[in-house]
Symmetry: C2
Subunit: 386 residues, 2 copies
């Protein structure tokens, strides 16, 4: 792969995951400036890119650290030199909690920090046991920041707002290795509500639930230092809330087709597509052409990819051709089919699981037509499921 560096974008074999570095850097700086302007911290979700190199780029641009979903993602990023990581998920297996505890000890000498979510009394006790068990043998004393995940409408993980959350805060404080750090209030379902009004209503509900919960916890004499959450779809709402102190948005960096389908709110930062699957036409027929990118090259959980059109005359619709093929037909008002061997660019429906299908992202400078390969970015935490 490294022999591609310095060569034209045309030399990239297909299918391949290609990153438009110029677009990505504009997105990077747009979000960094947005967070600064709103006086909130930015902790981008690295489950999206799974890359230590990009995590460090985000931190160099002002991010306080990154989020991940899995213990093994945290391990991959720590190994790549990222030292401030928040596992925004519940970890229950004793074997994984031993690994979490080991990571906290690895991070002590480099001044790093690990955080994690809990949503149950049993989860807190398991975490405390995991933190204590490895301690005597290693000789290093470490602690972990613990956020209580509140269910603010996603109805997935997360304790219910109000008194159930208060009980967890009281439990966390019983364990010396656990540092109660605040509340995680991420509303996943709100991210892709298409209209600004729907997104606002959903996040207003989250804000009210968190305000009430925070007040109840602080009435117990327990300080709630931080409320963290938000994704690319709703970040302007959390940023303006005066309640959230940290944004966890991730997709803004690459911007997929699903997020692009959201209707923007007034004043919302705009992001550009930076992630593409380059593909080639391998078969042409009377009414359709077939390209070499199927759903082993891009995730389809949030819809099929869009074909990037360099001109309005060349618009194509992509439909599902199975694991290894895509079916291309002319969009309404267009008639031209691409010829055998033509190169096309797909905008994935959902960037996170698309990146996970690839070993590397090929970073291109100067655009998709005349650009040059600048660097190969490894997907360090690819397949990091545990």
């Amino acid at each position: 792969m490294n022999d591609l560096i310095g060569h034209s974008v045309n030399t990239i074999d297909t299918p391949a995951l290609v990153l438009d570095l110029d677009a990505m850097e504009r997105n990077l700086h747009t979000m960094a400036a947005f967070a600064t302007q709103h006086h909130v911290m930015l902790r981008p979700h690295a489950k999206m890119h799974k890359s230590a190199e990009l995590a460090k780029l985000q931190m160099a641009a002002g991010a306080v650290g990154v989020c991940v979903q899995k213990t093994s993602e945290a391990e991959a990023l720590v190994a790549g030199g990222v030292h401030n990581i928040f596992i925004t998920n519940e970890v229950i297996a004793p074997s994984k909690l031993a690994r979490v505890a080991a990571l906290t000890r690895v991070l002590v000498p480099v001044g790093g920090k690990l955080a994690i979510c809990v949503d149950s009394i049993e989860g807190i006790r398991r975490l405390a046991i995991g933190m204590n068990e490895g301690r005597p043998s290693s000789g290093v004393t470490s602690s972990i920041d613990v956020f209580i995940e509140i269910n603010v409408g996603q109805n997935r993980c997360g304790v219910e707002p109000g008194n159930p959350a208060v009980a967890l805060a009281i439990e966390i404080r019983k364990h010396p290795a656990l540092n109660f750090a605040g509340l995680q209030a991420y509303h996943g379902k709100a991210q892709h509500l298409r209209s600004p009004d729907e997104r606002r209503d959903a996040i207003l509900g989250a804000i009210m639930a968190v305000q009430q919960t925070r007040a109840l916890i602080e009435a117990e004499g327990i300080k709630v230092a931080l409320v963290t959450g938000a994704g690319t779809g709703t970040a302007p709402l959390e940023a303006a809330s005066k309640l959230y102190g940290e944004l966890q948005a991730g997709s803004y960096l690459f911007m997929d087709a699903d997020y692009a389908a959201n209707l923007p709110a007034v004043g919302q930062p705009r992001f550009q597509h930076a992630l593409f699957v380059k593909t080639q036409v391998i078969s042409v027929h009377a009414g359709h052409a077939v390209c070499d990118a199927g759903h082993k090259s891009h995730a389809i959980d949030s819809g099929l990819p869009k074909v990037h059109a360099f001109s309005s005359r060349s618009e194509l619709e992509y439909s599902n051709g199975g694991d290894e093929h895509g079916i291309l037909t002319p969009a309404a008002g267009c008639t031209r089919l691409p010829s055998l061997g033509s190169m096309l660019w797909l905008i994935p429906g959902h960037c996170d699981p698309t990146v996970n299908l690839h070993q590397v992202m090929i970073g291109v400078r100067g655009g998709l037509i005349e650009g040059v390969v600048e660097r190969i970015i490894k997907v360090d935490a690819r397949g990091a499921l545990t």
Copy 2:
């Protein structure tokens, strides 16, 4: 991973891809016996398991070779010691055709063989150029078996039946490095038609199209040595056709939830689920539980996974919880939710792209409850897209 070998199935961390070796071996022998009984060759599709170890197991049980979809899959399997491979797809890029040609030369000294599909005159010419270009420098003379892919109803790749296919056979014969080997007639859409009657009607149409095409080609004095095709859903029909000489079924080895939803025809061989995603409950709520396997651990293109039930009282429904989570609710008539930390087994909707999400398959002997890890099977061609 290798330190798991010899340990109980309970020690496998989650999520993980687990292979029930006893069930897999029953499937292996059932299909091998079925092919023998019908006097057809078996060339299983290795795009499903992407593993040289399993390809060699299939060949040891009587398969003549394996199929793949991509040049890079063929490269990975050749590197793993598999020497008879059919790329059942069109390859168009000159850089890939150079790699195809190189593989044919690598296989000469070991007595191996490579085959490929074409569906256009330009594709044949590109293949011939690719085969000729590397030849003088290497000093090894090689050829490649070429199958004309016929569109028998999939409407994806494949030349139309009849005269368009005859023109391709005539063109192939002009190129000394290309050995016209027969017709590929795979009807992908027919595999998951639920009723036996629908599948029979679809394959009868394919058979008629291929018979007519074969007669037209043979009227030109060109022998059609082999018709190859079929998947796990329709293999009994092609096997009984007296036309198909080779079956390409792949999924039978692991048997996914989508194939299990087909209504079986009389006399059709039965296969058992052998591939599972082991997962763990990480969060429990009033009406649902959450497990740690989302669509980064299993593909959802052919539907969500089913939860394997060890008893009728413990049936659960799986619904989509995003990249890293699954939502579990009691099935109709059941009320019991699993407790925090419980282990569950998911039957993936579609085995091929599910395997592609994992580095390894953990092979277990003795069942999912009391079994022991016997071996770790590498997914050699994972992410082999080019």
